[in-house]
Amino acid sequence: MNGLAIEGLSKTFKDQIVLDEVSFDVDKGETLVLFGPSGAGKTVLLRCIAGAVDQDSGTIWIDGHNVTATPPEARGVGMAFQNFALFPHMNAFENIASPLRARKSEPTKLEESVRAIARLLKIDHVLAHAPRELSNGQKQRTALARALAAEPGLLLLDDPLRNVDAKLRFEMRLELPRLLAGREATVIYVTQDYKEAMALGNRIAVLEEGRIAQIGTAEDIYLSPSNIAIAKLFGDPVINLLDVVPDCDERGAFFDLSDQRIALDFLPEKAVGVPCTLGIRPEDFTITKADVPNALPVNIEAETPLNEKTVTLAVTPLGQELLASRPAGTAIHGQDSAGYVFNSRKILFFDSKSGLRMDNSHSNEKRSE
């Protein structure tokens, strides 16, 4: 049985299509991350599931029940909001207790449950505080506690870490999976942060302009994004894109950059002679000396030390900016003039016209005889 099933969900606001025939299933106990740029329709989709927004068409099943016409209070979901949406006139305890009160929970049991969940989230010392007296981190935990309090079968989390500081966000990212796993709830998690998406989701559904552009595990999406836009959404620094026309001759597959021939030991058949966009992740570039065979000739423009890695900005003779990243603390050879080498098996080939990734599975490896 699915924890959640969505079929053909559409929603239009003022002539603008926000959701366009969205369909997907989520297994019971699975965490599905809804990921996409702002305005992709993530939040509206979540609200449709919660019943806070009425869809124009489509069907929603929760735990096998069709809830399309069920009012929000009867859908049995818990939801945490991006801006917390705490009840300002109730203290933290009453906020967390509100789903239990709705279920007419017995007073001693209610008190017990609230305190238990508060302890788990380390907010048991602020239960008597009003929301305005809580720090952002405490507000976020209170909102989460409220969503969890009635142990709903379906948990909707709308970018719950968005408005907390970086440190707490990092801590929560590590802690959340354990917390959720212990409750056996199906979780729909909305975020705009690709790291959160990769870290938290059993699967990720990438939304683009109201449509599901790709759905799969973090690995599927990072290593085989279905189009350029998705490839650009995952990874920091962003993936390098290089427009070339790869070809194949008796010496093997290659493309020309300026007047340099760069050999490829792998090329999808469909890409031969076709304008392609190569997607190369910064971490897949290795910086070498300029005269290393088969290296992309580049001039190094800038080195930016980030925290755990150093990012190098280099420019090809054609003026394309390419970023390479390497673990912090490692040195590079050479000065301004250098070369980028890469493993062509890690290159993503996109059709320049459609932006779609070319399928690697039917690829035909070309080698020099």
Partner: protein, 285 residues
């Protein structure tokens, strides 16, 4: 940090002084008058030196006006009572009808809801007499002419749009997510209205109620057209009182003071709500 020249500071001070004088003086003067006898009032040149007397107020509360010519009964206290009944009653009815309607307008956007809200607002802009004159006939037919019920009904023309407009603004300011959160927590829409929307909009409801009370109290034309002598509020009563009492200027002043005192007191007491209500009523929407 602001940087002003000395001359500028002086000119600002002077301007403020003139403004305060112009707007405060009439109230000050009428209060002064109400504590004087006709003799001191009629002195020329006028002087601030006099022995204050409360005889004017005594006469009004006693309901008897003694002049050197004759003595007559006055029922100004009755007017005060009418004002209270009409204003309180009108506000109560307007709140009862207006608050749920405001919530509906704020939360349930349907085709034309904006137009309906504007139409209701435009009642405020229709000439009152245009509505009142036909009503005189209908009220007679319905048998509610010259009853408190009928008057309170008509007063809704001022109170209801005001409350609707202001309270709607407050409801719209409550983040919809807070209500969504309460509903997904398992509470029905009515519980959400009662436990979330109402308490959070309370300042707005107070502001609107207060403003509606003052507008009802200060209304003149409705009662002038529709109310007979024994249902008249102070605004109409005071005018009649002037005609009736002739040259008893002290008593007239005292009557005016008694009539404006409630709204002024209320205004001073709850000025914050009031300013908020006024600004919202006019600017938001």
């Amino acid at each position: 940090m602001r940087h002003h020249t000395v001359l500028e500071t002086w000119l600002r001070g002077l301007a403020i002084a003139v403004i305060v004088l112009f707007f405060m003086f009439p109230i000050f003067w009428i209060v002064l008058m109400s504590f004087q006898t006709n003799e001191t009032i009629l002195r020329s040149p006028p002087s601030m030196a006099f022995v204050p007397t409360i005889s004017n107020y005594e006469a009004i509360f006693a309901g008897r006006l003694d002049s050197n010519v004759a003595s007559m009964d006055i029922k100004f206290l009755g007017n005060l009572g009418n004002s209270i009944i009409l204003s309180v009653g009108s506000v109560a009815v307007a709140l009862l009808l207006g608050v749920p309607a405001a919530y509906a307008f704020a939360r349930h956007k349907f085709r034309g809801s904006e137009d309906i809200a504007f139409t209701l607002l435009s009642f405020r802009f229709a000439p009152p007499l245009l509505v009142l004159l036909p009503l005189t006939t209908y009220f007679q037919a319905l048998g509610i002419a010259d009853t408190y019920f009928g008057l309170i009904w008509v007063y809704q023309l001022i109170c209801l749009p005001l409350i609707l407009w202001i309270v709607r603004g407050y409801f719209e300011d409550i983040p919809a997510d807070i209500e969504h959160a309460y509903r997904t927590a398992g509470h029905g829409w009515f519980a959400t209205f009662r436990k979330i929307a109402l308490p959070l909009a309370m300042p707005g409801i107070a502001a609107a109620g207060l403003l509606a009370f003052i507008f009802a109290w200060n209304n003149f034309i409705f009662a002038l057209v529709l109310a007979s002598a024994d249902k008249q509020p102070v605004t109409v009563g005071a005018l009649a009182f002037v005609t009736a009492s002739g040259i008893q200027y002290g008593q007239i002043a005292a009557a005016v003071v008694l009539s404006i005192a409630p709204t002024l007191m209320l205004a001073l007491y709850a000025q914050r709500y009031l300013v908020e209500g006024l600004s919202l009523g006019a600017v938001k929407g």
